[in-house]
């Protein structure tokens, strides 16, 4: 082999090594973000599950005020270390242990009140008022859902159970939920996710019916699962592990596996097919994002008129009246789904409601009663029928 041949071969290899990186980079740069590249993507195929229909759905906002002072809530979160801190360690009731912010613990907190649960809620909360941070701040989120079947029969469900024992017991009595629970009229408790403001008021429900069927996301942490027992529940919760669970004809529980602030994992939301009207989405917080919910429903559910009809619940956009440009993406994009009734409240945020109204979305206004601070959206005691 001559030197020239060797040199030529070496040069060839050098060229191949350099050219390979260059060729790959050229493809990456010149093709990846072009219309042709996106033509390759498989078109979304809709696999619409027929889950029946209901005649109507009525929601009553038992309480949408999860807390009453945003600054106090955020002060506690800030001092505890931010939005990734485990909610059970922040020091809020009912898991306050008197050690201060960021030093709470489920075990120590619940040990102070366990023997009082679920029947002596006043005393339990009074104990916690001495041990927890900003004890007057907790409220809670809870919604009564009344489903009217096509044959006219009605069925009631409780969506979430709030936070403060005191506030939730008052709210339940105000809306007659205590009697509905006692009489067994409410057929199940659906816990959308493990957050303090949706879940920690569990004893307030257990006080009136500690055997009613309960649905939880299978991402609940061990503290959350233990709390079900410590609250006095005598049944076995259904741990939702499938993406779609039919609760009754026309009523679907949709599960999302999403990481959520304050160390919570997963949320479930509800979808209803309302006869001749279309799809109605009801959520606790919608941490997965309302457009993720609409997108999933669009792809996987069959509903009348192939139309999105209404929304109710928290949309988790600016719960702390905070903002981020990506929320504007949501505000801008929601319009394309053409909802006819937007019954947002709770963690949607007043600022979001304001932006929805500015874009002409049909936001249903409320009456601003029972400590709801503004009529911008549906408040405590307000109802909406789809």
């Amino acid at each position: 082999m001559t030197d020239d041949t060797t040199t030529s071969r070496r040069d060839f290899v050098k060229g191949v090594a350099t050219g390979a990186i260059g060729g790959a980079l050229a493809g990456m740069g010149l093709y990846s973000y072009t219309g042709s590249a996106y033509d390759r993507l498989a078109k979304v195929t809709r696999q619409q599950q027929d889950f029946g229909a209901v005649r109507s759905v009525k929601v009553t906002a038992i309480s949408e005020t999860s807390w009453f002072n945003n600054a106090h809530l955020m002060e506690d979160i800030k001092k505890a270390g931010g939005l990734l801190v485990d909610q059970y360690t922040i020091g809020w009731g009912p898991f306050g242990n008197g050690k201060g912010v960021g030093k709470g613990s489920y075990e120590e907190g619940v040990a102070n009140i366990k023997k009082m649960l679920p029947n002596d809620l006043e005393e339990a909360w009074a104990v916690q008022e001495k041990l927890s941070l900003h004890p007057d701040n907790p409220g809670g989120f809870s919604t009564l859902i009344e489903v009217e079947d096509l044959d006219g029969s009605k069925h009631k469900y409780l969506l979430d159970t709030g936070w403060s024992y005191k506030w939730m017991d008052q709210s339940f009595k105000r809306e007659g939920i205590d009697q509905m629970l006692r009489s067994g009229e409410i057929e199940a408790l659906i816990l959308t996710h493990e957050h303090f403001d949706h879940y920690w008021g569990l004893p307030a429900t257990m006080k009136y019916n500690n055997k009613l069927p309960m649905y939880i996301h299978n991402g609940f942490y061990k503290e959350g699962l233990q709390y079900i027992k410590d609250s006095g529940y005598k049944g076995e919760p259904v741990k939702v592990d499938k993406e779609m669970t039919v609760i009754r004809p026309g009523m679907m529980l949709v599960k999302f596996d999403v990481p959520i602030i304050c160390r919570v994992f997963g949320e479930t939301s509800l979808a209803f097919n309302v006869k001749d009207k279309g799809l109605v989405l009801v959520s606790g917080c919608n941490h997965q994002g309302i457009l993720q919910m609409t997108s999933t429903a669009f792809q996987k559910l069959k509903y009348d008129n192939d139309r999105f009809y209404g929304i109710y619940g928290g949309l988790h956009i600016s719960p702390f009246e905070d903002w981020d440009p990506k929320y504007d993406d949501l505000v801008i994009s929601l319009g394309k789904w053409k909802f006819e009734k937007v019954g947002c409240n709770h963690c949607t945020g007043h600022l979001t409601a304001k932006k929805f109204v500015e874009r002409g979305y049909p936001v249903v206004r409320g009456t601003a009663r029972f400590r709801t601070s503004s009529p911008d959206y549906l408040g405590n005691g307000d109802t909406l029928t789809f």
């Binding site: 040199t7 070496r10 040069d11 060839f12 050098k14 060229g15 191949v16 090594a17 350099t18 050219g19 390979a20 990186i21 260059g22 060729g23 790959a24 980079l25 050229a26 493809g27 990456m28 740069g29 093709y31 990846s32 996106y38 390759r40 993507l41 979304v44 945003n70 600054a71 955020m74 002060e75 800030k78 505890a80 270390g81 931010g82 939005l83 990734l84 801190v85 485990d86 360690t89 960021g102 999403v258 990481p259 602030i261 994992f265 941490h287 994002g289 457009l291 993720q292 997108s295 988790h316 702390f320 903002w323 981020d324 440009p325 990506k326 504007d328 993406d329 949501l330 801008i332 994009s333």
Partner: protein
């Protein structure tokens, strides 16, 4: 005073030699690095730890600005005001502690004094947490918004500052003594960085407030249609790719191929813009990869389907690669070295990508068990860039400030070895020949085939739940 400005920087003047044969130096360093990482993570960042700065933006800002401080001190100021003699004779541990402390001090002065103090009090309100709080924002979000803006400055600086040294070779101030050279480059890159900030991030910040601050910023921003979002994460994507490309070019690519250009101004200009071009290729590819693997992005969604998150994840993915690049370069001796420069570069690129992919997989699989973060791919308040940059910072302290202690020690380079430094700046080992031209053509086709092969299999790979 011993000559501090003798042309060759401290980092170029030293050779790091292993203290022991075999893999033990790397093993010892990695053990020490991971121990320091975990202890410092617990003290400063961990949401379960002591200071809990991972709020997330406070911790995010700190780790990014620390990175810039390290780059400024080691790369731009060539360790000024510390004397070369002190650097040569001081024990690496002492040196590491003092230099790191100096960087932390300057960082605090910059953040509290310049950004929050001067800029926030006399220029732009959103740099000041106290002003935002006084205007009605909660204390928490006032702090988060201000630190986000300050952090974004650092993101830009992490590309421009090293780029001026690596690509532009400090020109046109390369002949100035320190600190004149370093200060000039810091001021110039900071000035350019400010312009970049205003045309990339300022609109993002303006949208944070109601109503959109249309008299002070372009809203909606000009990139909305192109990037399918009004979020500045689009810019984070390509800027982080630029940051990563600078270090890829400097370390595992040994400034190849732009160092083949003999004309100084052309080489420097080509390298500066070439880095941007490579970064844009990477950026668009990494975005497209996600759409292929996980389905078309949906604007307005909140998590891994949202375009703003996917742009952010472009930058995050690039940083995982940077971890692989620096690990290979620092602790793997920039292996392999026995082939020609182009072949070495090619193999190192593949190897570092494999390391980066492994770190990516391990992070999303196990980080929530160790770092106090939340499981899942796209927590809205979680940024894998924070632990990755934290780790990279420790790499840099170890290799730049501590001379690779304990596994390595610094010895002066010989004249022949110093000539190799020159060869890196202007290379002569690849020349234009017919063989090279043929190879380039064949390689380019092969590279394109590999690219189209990868994008063809990605939709299937996306179904693998262990990644998602």
């Amino acid at each position: 005073m011993e000559a501090d400005n003798r042309g060759v920087s401290y980092l170029e003047s030293r050779k790091l030699v292993k203290r022991w044969d075999g893999p033990w130096p790397a093993v010892a360093n990695f053990l020490m690095i991971f121990a320091i990482f975990y202890v410092t993570w617990w003290i400063f960042q961990d949401p379960r730890g002591i200071m809990r700065m991972y709020t997330p933006y406070v911790g995010y800002m700190i780790c990014r600005w620390l990175l810039i401080m390290f780059i400024w001190l080691a790369y731009i100021l060539d360790f000024w005001p510390f004397k070369r003699s002190w650097l040569n004779k001081t024990h690496p541990v002492v040196k590491g502690a003092i230099l790191t402390a100096a960087c932390v001090l300057v960082m605090e002065l910059l953040i509290e004094g310049f950004f929050k103090g001067i800029l926030g009090q006399y220029g732009i309100a959103y740099f000041s947490p106290s002003r935002l709080h006084a205007m009605g924002l909660t204390e928490f979000y006032a702090e988060e918004y201000a630190t986000e803006a300050i952090m974004m400055f650092a993101a830009i600086a992490s590309w421009l500052a090293p780029s001026w040294v690596v690509a532009c070779e400090n020109a046109p101030w390369q002949k100035l003594d320190q600190p004149a050279r370093g200060i000039t480059i810091i001021v110039v890159t900071f000035f350019i960085g400010t312009i970049v900030y205003f045309v990339t991030m300022h609109s993002h910040m303006a949208i944070l407030f109601y109503p959109w601050q249309q008299y002070t910023a372009i809203t909606p921003p000009y990139w909305e249609k192109f990037a399918n979002t009004v979020s500045g994460n689009f810019h984070i994507a390509w800027i982080m790719c630029c940051t990563v490309t600078v270090w890829v070019y400097e370390s595992i690519w040994q400034r190849y191929p732009f160092n083949l250009i003999k004309t100084d101004w052309l080489r420097r200009t080509t390298a500066f813009f070439g880095i941007i071009a490579v970064a844009l290729c990477m950026c668009f590819f990494l975005f497209y990869v996600q759409d292929l693997a996980w389905g078309l992005n949906i604007r307005g969604t909140r998590r891994d389907m949202a375009p703003d998150w996917r742009w952010l994840h472009v930058g995050e993915s690039a940083i995982f690669w940077l971890v692989g690049v620096l690990a290979l370069s620092f602790y793997g001796g920039n292996w392999p070295n026995k082939f020609s420069r182009p072949v070495n570069v090619f193999l190192r690129t593949l190897l570092s990508m494999a390391i980066g992919a492994a770190v990516y997989f391990l992070y999303y699989r196990y980080a929530h068990l160790i770092l106090g973060t939340q499981k899942g791919l796209s927590h809205p308040q979680q940024f894998p860039m924070i632990p990755m940059i934290w780790l990279i910072n420790i790499f840099l302290v170890n290799m730049w400030f501590m001379d690779g202690w304990p596994g390595w020690k610094a010895v002066p380079k010989t004249s022949a070895e110093l000539e190799e430094v020159e060869e890196t700046i202007v290379a002569h080992d690849v020349t234009w020949t017919p063989g090279l031209a043929k190879g380039l053509a064949v390689g380019a086709v092969a590279g394109a085939v590999v690219y189209f092969g990868v994008i063809s299999i990605l939709p299937w790979l996306g179904h693998i739940q262990m990644i998602r």
